[in-house]
């Protein structure tokens, strides 16, 4: 063995905070994602309803406009918790379609191409990888769900004096309900993307989780004569959670605790699926 010169000097400069490194993944991915015209068009379409709602809130409190149109204030739909509850349901549905479009491309390419060692041979953990991929979708979902929801809430607060003081809990319901829904969608999309490599099949599976789950849940309810089959229908589950958060007076078909339990189990299954696939090497069995 030759005697080598010892000239190695490691990097000694400052480092960015460890917590922020997950943001590197979406940064590169957004550039690629927004090359899709369909995605851009769909994202724009997702803002039609919030913009319509904003216009409605403004108009419904604009007495000059109402009198010009010969409309009495009482004839307009009330902007209250139910208004925001419906907004959450509508935008939550739009979020499902966005998830089906974006979700399949999150992890599948890395799994298919054995790219995981590229990430994990850097100071970057599996949790940071999942969080980074999740943040990509979560940011998009947030942009069409709770962020416009809170903007509408602020518009309503600005046009009706004293409304905010009595209805501040609505803001919590908008954020809490939609954020829980967004995280659930992200976890399902990540788990399916980690296991199904073919993009169209993965997108179809994401939709099937929501739509076939509803049918399967109804079948279970009919056969076993129970209501708990509805726990397989994630749209029903989130509807119960929205009802609880928006303080609906009508009793939901399922108990809120059962709905929360169903979401927790769904999240655990997704995390387990991710744990099996997001690793630096293929397990030989």
């Amino acid at each position: 063995m030759a005697v080598y010169k010892r000239t190695y000097k490691p990097y000694e400069g400052s480092l960015t905070p460890g917590w922020s490194r997950f943001l590197i993944l979406p940064r590169a991915a957004y550039t690629y994602l927004f090359q899709s015209k369909f995605l851009v068009m769909y994202l724009v379409a997702c803002f039609f309803y919030p913009i319509g709602c904003a216009a409605f809130i403004y108009i419904s409190h604009n007495l000059t406009f109402l009198s010009a149109m010969n409309i009495r204030v009482g004839q307009m739909i009330q902007v209250d918790a139910s208004f925001f509850r419906y907004f959450c349901g509508f935008q939550g549905g739009m979020a499902v379609l966005l998830t089906a479009f974006v979700g399949p491309g999150l992890i599948a390419p890395d799994v298919t191409n054995n790219a995981m060692p590229l990430y994990f041979s850097r100071p970057f953990s599996r949790a940071e990888y999942v969080f980074g991929k999740m943040s990509l979708l979560l940011a998009l979902l947030s942009a069409i769900t709770w962020i416009p929801g809170l903007i509408l809430f602020l518009i309503q607060c600005s046009v009706v004096t004293g409304w905010a003081a009595q209805n501040s809990w609505v803001a919590g319901a908008i954020f809490g309900g939609l954020f829980v829904w967004d995280v659930t969608l992200c976890l399902i999309a990540l788990a399916i993307s980690a296991w199904i490599k073919w993009r169209i099949a993965a997108g179809g599976t994401i939709l099937a989780v929501f739509f076939a789950g509803a049918g399967f849940g109804s079948a279970v309810n009919a056969i076993v004569r129970t209501q708990y089959g509805s726990l397989l229908d994630l749209r029903q589950v989130i509807s119960v959670i929205f009802s609880q958060m928006f303080r609906d007076v009508a009793p939901p078909a399922l108990s809120p605790s059962a709905a929360w339990m169903a979401l927790a189990i769904c999240a655990l299954i997704c995390l387990r699926m991710l744990s099996k696939r997001v690793r630096a090497f293929e397990v030989v069995t």
Binding site: R6, Y8, Q35, A115, A280, F281
Partner: protein, 314 residues
């Protein structure tokens, strides 16, 4: 720093994937310089590399990379650069963006990442292609951009899985020169290969693997001397090869005598070189015509064949 602080050490390391053996009872101490892991497919080369990179944790035993345990990835990944054998990159990125993005995972600021990425790309002579999409790269260019990613953060230990695979002869020569430069700077350059000719050219030492076991380690000549229980090969040219083979086979230290080169030579495998040459002299003096004698096992190929068998030599 301990006595092994400047080495990559494996202490009785085993790794099983369920019931499947990855590597078993590996004890190694790898010094700076170029070290080659050689073995056929499934011999455990990649598992060994994954173990020292912290991507796989050992089922048993201890690993230290410059005294850093692989369970401390924050420290380990800063001194270690890993290039996988797979061609896989996130979509849509150019060469520079790729090296830059993965440098950002180390926590360096943008200016530093740009500088380091540019330097690594230039070192691999990829500057002209740096702004092209990786998806449009040739196989050789992909290999080089992977190497750029591995060396970009200036690691002290480089672990490179099949790094010369797919390179044309010119780039291969340049890459080997790069390995030598890195090794001369006191770094560990650990490469895997199943192309044995490459190992001959570039290695300071080799580690031969078969079926998850280290069957030999050390300098190529040293490996040969270390395994005295394995026969040495000698090629003898003679006009009476059949008679020579028959006579030699009578000696108990000769384990194989095979006619090769269309019967114009005999390949002998012997366990005792001294006794063999003494016997050969005796035969020559007794009228067996011998045209030439040459050792046939000074290359890694023959050592490899001895140790691993026919599977390894293919």
């Amino acid at each position: 720093m301990s006595a092994n602080g400047g080495r990559v050490t494996f202490d009785n390391v085993s790794r099983f994937y369920g019931e499947v053996l990855g590597v078993n009872r590996v004890t190694l101490s790898i010094p700076p310089g170029i070290t080659s892991l050689v073995g056929p497919n499934g011999s455990g080369k990649t598992t060994l590399m994954n173990l020292m990179s912290g991507l796989v944790h050992p089922t048993r035993g201890q690993i230290r990379v410059l005294d850093i345990p692989p369970t401390d990835p924050e420290r380990l990944c800063r001194v270690l650069g890993y290039s996988t054998q797979f061609d896989s990159f996130p979509r849509g990125l150019t060469g520079h963006q790729l090296v830059f993005s993965f440098l950002r995972l180390f926590g360096y600021d943008e200016v530093t990442c740009n500088r380091l990425a540019g330097a690594a790309i230039e070192r691999l002579r990829m500057t002209e292609a740096a702004d092209r999409k990786v998806a449009a790269y040739s196989k050789g260019m992909r290999q080089r951009i992977k190497l750029a990613m591995a060396i970009a953060h200036d690691p002290q230990v480089l672990v490179l899985d099949e790094p010369l695979n797919g390179l044309d002869p010119l780039v291969r020569a340049e890459t080997i020169t790069l390995f030598r430069e890195l090794a001369a700077q006191g770094r560990h350059v650990i490469v895997s290969s199943h192309v044995l000719h490459e190992v001959d050219q570039i290695s300071d030492q080799v580690i031969l693997l078969s079926n998850g076991y280290v069957v030999a380690e050390g300098q190529i000549q040293g490996v040969r001397g270390e395994i005295q229980e394995h026969p040495m090969q000698v090629l003898i040219r003679s006009s009476r090869c059949s008679a020579l083979a028959s006579k030699l086979f009578e000696f108990d230290h000769v384990v194989e005598a095979r006619l090769v080169e269309a019967g114009s030579a005999v390949l002998i495998k012997t366990r005792d070189a001294d006794r063999f040459y003494h016997a050969l002299n005796h035969l020559a003096l007794n009228g067996i015509d011998i045209e030439g004698v040459a050792p046939a096992d000074d290359t890694v190929n023959s050592v490899y064949e001895y140790l691993i068998g026919e599977e390894g030599s293919r």
